[in-house]
Amino acid sequence: MVKLSFFVGCTSAVREVNYEISAKAVLESLGVELEYIEGQSCCGLPFRYVSFDSWLTLASRNIALAELTGNPMLVLCSGCYKSFKEALSLISKPELKKSVNERLSIEGLEVKGGLKVIHIAELLHDHYGVDRLAQQVKVKLNLNVAVHPGCHIVRPMDVIGFDNPEVPLKLEKLVELTGCNSIQYRTKRECCGATLAGIDQEASKSLVARKIMNIKGRADALITFCPICHASYDAMQRAALKPEDQVPVLHYTQLLGLALGLPPEKLGFDYNRVSVDKVLAKIKNTP
């Protein structure tokens, strides 16, 4: 396996370190080597919504830094994934590339294009290989879980192209290989509404509550593939729902780490906001 340049992203680095911790632990145990990209900053996506040029400059700046390493770039966050994949697709237009490079020249950087950007789910499923990954599983977890695919791991579909946006079977497969049963539920495809939290708390709470109430009683945990989705459900749930209605939210890499037989202490569970005790107890009691 090649070495990967690692782009950590704001949310994993600051608010969701349990994702970074568990992703690193999992990849280390699978023999994947990561090298943090020097000088990385925000991927730019939050600014996409108000200033196209600010976004494209920030995204391209990080791409240019990754290109210097000569290795593909690994991201944990679906937002970063979208940001970089869209930027790469747009800078294939010479005029846009030219104007971006004028700005990057301030720092002596130049974006070339053609960088390979890989989301950790894509790495595990397509590149490491889902069958090979299944062979590494040491503990069949036997949980009922609800998959939350999230938006930008699959959308916009013409730019991302990793999995079917309406029925993301690759994500289901990644979850099922841990020995879990992935339940079907209404609103599975629905957005976490992360950006709403800063604009309309009540709307954000109702979106989060709607998903959790659809899985409550049937799922031991909700599984996410994006730190922003994780933050939305894990943090907002506590404001939106009574403790008895709350459902633990695990990063996929935490779930996979358990299945690979890694000790829970190595997977950052102490950072999960909704208690994961019941999930961990259930796994311990699995013969």
């Binding site: 704001c10 949310t11 680095a13 600051v14 608010r15 370190v17 970074e20 911790i21 690193k24 943090y36 000088g39 990385q40 900053s41 925000c42 939050p46 600014f47 996409r48 919504y49 108000v50 200033s51 196209f52 040029d53 600010s54 494209l56 400059t57 920030l58 700046r61 979208k82 747009l90 846009l96 700005r103 990057l104 301030i106 720092e107 938006c151 930008h152 959308r155 916009p156 579909m157 946006p165 495809r189 629905e190 957005c191 509404g193 992360a194 950006t195 709403l196 800063g198 604009i199 309309d200 709307a203 109702s206 979106l207 950052g268």
Partner: protein, 166 residues
């Protein structure tokens, strides 16, 4: 659209649609069938004053003030489902991006969140505050320190692209 109230000629800006279309991503406003697939798919339409379908119509009608001052453009989470499902490749999610950018550039009210994130970006290189506690915590977990990128260059790049300093 009941929320429109009485409209007169003065409410119509004939250049509005072409301003919206001056966006680096392809938008097909004129192809819209008003089928409503976008609004029906939108996870946050319940909290919007205009659905994405109605916003496309506002653009077509040249109702600039309504479109740029409405709540819906800020409620949109940018999930892209509307664009993926639109049968005519109208690209409503990018139309909303163009509307927000126009609102921002033209001095309409913009949620504080965006300005705060830019402030953090220019101070730390990240959209969140990164203080010594963040880095102590990371060190305890064997994670590398978050060093700011070259903030001087970042500032210059943002000055060249960010429409407002406030």
């Amino acid at each position: 659209m009941a929320r429109m109230g009485r409209l007169g000629r003065a409410d119509i800006d004939p250049r509005f649609e072409s301003d919206v279309l001056k966006y680096p991503v392809k938008l097909n406003v004129d192809a819209c069938l008003q089928c409503g697939v976008c609004g029906g798919s939108c996870p946050v339409a319940f909290s919007m004053d205009y659905t994405p379908r109605e916003l496309v119509e506002l653009v077509k009608l040249g109702l600039k003030e309504k479109a740029l001052s409405c709540r819906a453009i800020w409620i949109c989470t940018g999930c892209n489902v509307c664009s993926d499902r639109c049968p005519e490749d109208v690209n409503p999610s990018e139309i909303l991006n163009s509307l927000r950018a126009l609102a921002f550039k033209s001095g309409f009210k913009v949620p504080e969140m965006f300005l705060k994130m830019m402030e953090n970006l220019l101070s730390y290189g990240w959209i969140y505050e990164v203080d010594e506690f963040t880095n102590e915590d990371r060190a305890d977990r064997g994670l590398p320190q978050l060093k700011p990128p070259s903030l001087d260059s970042l500032k210059k790049m943002m000055e060249a692209t960010w429409p407002r300093g406030d």
